[in-house]
Symmetry: D2
Subunit: 383 residues, 4 copies
Amino acid sequence: MSRKIRMGMIGGGRGAFIGNVHRMAAALDGQIELVCGAFSSNAEKSKLSGDDLFLDESRVYGSYAEMIEKEKALPLGERMDFVSIVTPNHVHFGPAKMALENGFHVVCDKPLAFNLEEAEELERLVNETGLLFALTHNYTGYPMVKQAKMMIQNNEIGKVRKVIVEYPQGWLSTKLESTDQKQAAWRTDPSKSGIAGAMGDIGTHAENLAEYITGLKIDAICADISTLVDGRLLDDDGNVLLRFDNGARGILYASQISAGEENGLAIRIYGEKGGLEWHQMEPNTLLVKWLDKPSQNYRTGVGELYPETQAHTRIPAGHPEGYLEAFANIYRNFAMCVRAKLENKEVEKVYQDYPTVSDGVRGMKFIYKVIESGKADAKWIKM
Amino acid sequence: MSRKIRMGMIGGGRGAFIGNVHRMAAALDGQIELVCGAFSSNAEKSKLSGDDLFLDESRVYGSYAEMIEKEKALPLGERMDFVSIVTPNHVHFGPAKMALENGFHVVCDKPLAFNLEEAEELERLVNETGLLFALTHNYTGYPMVKQAKMMIQNNEIGKVRKVIVEYPQGWLSTKLESTDQKQAAWRTDPSKSGIAGAMGDIGTHAENLAEYITGLKIDAICADISTLVDGRLLDDDGNVLLRFDNGARGILYASQISAGEENGLAIRIYGEKGGLEWHQMEPNTLLVKWLDKPSQNYRTGVGELYPETQAHTRIPAGHPEGYLEAFANIYRNFAMCVRAKLENKEVEKVYQDYPTVSDGVRGMKFIYKVIESGKADAKWIKM
Amino acid sequence: MSRKIRMGMIGGGRGAFIGNVHRMAAALDGQIELVCGAFSSNAEKSKLSGDDLFLDESRVYGSYAEMIEKEKALPLGERMDFVSIVTPNHVHFGPAKMALENGFHVVCDKPLAFNLEEAEELERLVNETGLLFALTHNYTGYPMVKQAKMMIQNNEIGKVRKVIVEYPQGWLSTKLESTDQKQAAWRTDPSKSGIAGAMGDIGTHAENLAEYITGLKIDAICADISTLVDGRLLDDDGNVLLRFDNGARGILYASQISAGEENGLAIRIYGEKGGLEWHQMEPNTLLVKWLDKPSQNYRTGVGELYPETQAHTRIPAGHPEGYLEAFANIYRNFAMCVRAKLENKEVEKVYQDYPTVSDGVRGMKFIYKVIESGKADAKWIKM
Amino acid sequence: MSRKIRMGMIGGGRGAFIGNVHRMAAALDGQIELVCGAFSSNAEKSKLSGDDLFLDESRVYGSYAEMIEKEKALPLGERMDFVSIVTPNHVHFGPAKMALENGFHVVCDKPLAFNLEEAEELERLVNETGLLFALTHNYTGYPMVKQAKMMIQNNEIGKVRKVIVEYPQGWLSTKLESTDQKQAAWRTDPSKSGIAGAMGDIGTHAENLAEYITGLKIDAICADISTLVDGRLLDDDGNVLLRFDNGARGILYASQISAGEENGLAIRIYGEKGGLEWHQMEPNTLLVKWLDKPSQNYRTGVGELYPETQAHTRIPAGHPEGYLEAFANIYRNFAMCVRAKLENKEVEKVYQDYPTVSDGVRGMKFIYKVIESGKADAKWIKM
């Protein structure tokens, strides 16, 4: 089968942010081809976006329903192989469900859905259909995140005792949603975002990262959830105490009112023998700390890294890779798995690695529990 | 009065760590002269330490009680002007009380006392006698900590909304107290340290730093206090949610099992207009963040800093100052205030700046509240 | 003209490094489509690479000459619009010349050619044909490099007085060319690389970066050029004193035996009012220094940056962009200029920005002069 | 002999900068007592400084000659043991010569003298008298500088191939000497500073650091020496190519017009097996780089450091030490050696470590050679 995997996009028209990220991520490795899209619920807008992207007019649709129907009618190899859903949270469930029910694999932006029921329904559908479903918790796509995961899995730092995961941003320090800013508007609107603001938008990334790297599950949480900008409808800051299933303790915080912070996702993990520290804004370095020995700067491309790490880096040491490359890792792995399905082949284990619908359900549960704990004035709640 | 201020030391004999720190800090600026000491409760050991320090034999005592009595008998100007208490926590109260009752000013290591009752008794005595009392919460002695405090006081970053203060260390990642290590032994021994381990030893520094810089008071806390090394008798890790009296939210954590961390006290403060970040291990930089403007690296010695900052730095930009210089700032200010008392003069306001007995009482209350909240399984407790 | 710009690639078959970089860079923005290639001078190998890339068999050629001839025979809109040359230095001239002579635009890897004569011949051809020619001095594609350039152009740091540009690598610290390593082999082989090793491979990047950012020309150089690994045939380390045409002084060094360095291209520029510092390995930050004011951390996506900067960044602040994105900027700008040619339109000035054949000639001259000065035992030589 | 070593100071009165640095450095470890001084050639000013320092009036002198004469008349144990000379360059030779001729050990600020003849005369006198002479090239006092030296001495990074030593400052970016600034005035005045400006003031520190750490000697230099601020009488910027006696190549630069730089002394050294990097402004870290292994952050107080390193640090890991502590290491070692002389004892080898009069002669030669090479328009000159 000598062809690229074919993608149809839902959402991501002119003016959107994340749609273009998905397109660049999908394009980077030359494995995926954008063949169609329903870029906007406004057919005219959708058309304009299709032109921008040099798509055949006949493959630019006015709604996701139209796209799924019409594409299904095309022969395999011509029709899209999967959909990529890049709409706001409240428009994840509809297209995902319809795509799955019509035999299309799915890539979906996070959080998985508007509420827990939707999320669980999607998980059920994925299990039922056997279709592939990737959730773009893109931060786990970074090579040094893989390295950290493997070092813990191989007991290099000993049993994990403490985890600090943080995600400070500052862009909602003012009431930006009262201006024209589209990104701020839907993210702070309960009818589009769901029950959580910052905790849903970025808190779930932090939760996902911590569980992915440590291989542990958060067992209980105790949260202080706040809205610090007057008149905002959802939380913009949350501080959470964590207990993990192995007894480790932790802190998770997410904030969108940390003035002057950009996109400061970071994690520190301490085991009995050593510690790991990683910062998303300098993603090619993993700081490895030891009891009474000098710390080490693990770097992509330097020395003996795990095969899982090497499989997710493209260029030599000192040639920085960033956000788009990490995002592209998810698309590349997903495309390899789709291709394997189409060709009835196996994929090497290091590439069978992207966040799934189950990660999405877990993220939705996390959202529910922190909001519940926050309302209960910080009591411990089991996950 | 052309003479140095005269110091007598209690504790700090051979093998001690903090005693020598106090001596270096006191010596640095040429304002203070060590004239006598009771360096150990073992008279022979005390004598040996006196020899190391080139003290007159007659001024080296076998107990603090002996020292206070005999020094009191000497004429003013010959006798010590103040005592410096550098013993473990359970031996703070005795000498401090006796010194105050006999008319000596006091410098005391932190935490102030073994328990809250002792702490409050010392505060009462200080108020009653009008004597000066400095508590060596030395981290507030750093120039860029002064700068941060003044920037907030002058509303440069707007109303404070969030505070993250952290103090990770790794040196107690193993059961070091089972070896011969003296520092580990008393710090993990409830009969010497009091009801708290890490929270008392370093958590109080974090609390003090946060309140000093922000000018806010912690109003309520919700804590998860743990002992992660098997068989240890006191806490070695604590994670605390904070609410401040102006409504700001926060996190404080202190840990001595964060493997590979050295002495990582750090604070981040976010206001409505900007943020501040300071790391004790790189103390000459204050990172100042702004909403949608480039962040700035404030540095000791560069540009227009507050007089309070300038008064606490000794050398030009790019000549790093460290822990001992910050510690020395407390001694220098204290010595200036003692001199002013002796000479009936005024001290410039920028030098009337050292932690007091009241900071010590506050620290003890903090210890009590976090331990109480930890035992109550993380419920909000008012300070 | 609703279609992507069509690229044919010369070189870059299986096992090559830079070919894949060019392909990812070209693909990222969805403006360019790879339609054909002569990936190897071995037709069978070329075919295999074509399969990897999902190309139509009929468009995979066994030689660049075949490709240029056959593509020329295809109608416009179907045939390639430009060639991308990613072969070793000694195979730049042949395909570039033939492409230009047959009406194809060219992207070529650096250095421009094997020797100065070839370089000047290509410059002549470009001028004669009016075709577009981009040289992938990719490091000038970084957004913060644009910002630095514009700040100097707008006199923000005053007249430039001093420039330090450095490019340390460590990968040739051992005699790697004696192993099977292909990259090391051709780069240290005078018959493939030309008269210079490190100075050609990376020294020219440093020269190009310094002149691009400052807007100055290097007027004279005084060089110490060495081969520090026994038996190596070309230089692996060079230290060069610089004088610029405005009187500024400088240092340029390039090294491939700086053990432990990755790809440490960095530049520091000092003017009468301030300084700039940029590190390729942390490319999203530009450190801006001032006389007696705090330094500032300019960051992609934060605050008011020049339009030239903004035009070369794709994602918000704190989402790191890297080497491939900078490389892609060159391809994206080149593609926009090719499209404008095809459509007889104008391109906005901020996008008319990629290194040209003239930069390539200048780089070749630089190589000749530093080698000449090195042989003359460091005497000043005019550029 | 249970007493402190007694110091008399020459220079360093009110308004001076370096005098107070010397006093703090001497005081820090409680080994040295300031007993007398000729702080100014103006007797009244000297007296005021003596008062500031709580000195006995009878020991505050109006000239260095008076001090040396009168102190010599006092009995040993009461009189000063050594002089500390902290005057501008042109007033080093006179007091140093007289002190040596009268049996006093000497600490002298750098550079050693006003010209090479004076320097060689002092060296002759030191050899003749057998007195101790320390030159305060203070930057070699840092513990991680010792660590770097020992790592090279023990072949940890293999044979040294390349050295980059740099010392950028920005404080003379404007013509500060035209204002009242005392520090700028004498440093740019050939009648006080000697034949060199920046190269003498800070270039010699760079030279000393490079030779101290590597254990190599600079064999030849090729220099570009400039005055970039109009009307300045001495050099304010110098760039120098280096060749070392083992064949290693290098670059040294010193600049006082690097706008926005503070005191950026830094060194990078590359051997066959690895590299070392140290920055004076973050002095407690030594970055250790390896061929194809993660780099390591050696830190004062962490892990197994050389005894030479440990002997020059006073406080545990993570408690930053700075400029004054490094400076104090020179005084402490010098005092230990003086004490050993007085007591006819041996000093442990790790403490027999301070810059000597011979380092000073070497520094003067370096100044002469770089100025000569600069005037010869960058030709190679043997050291």
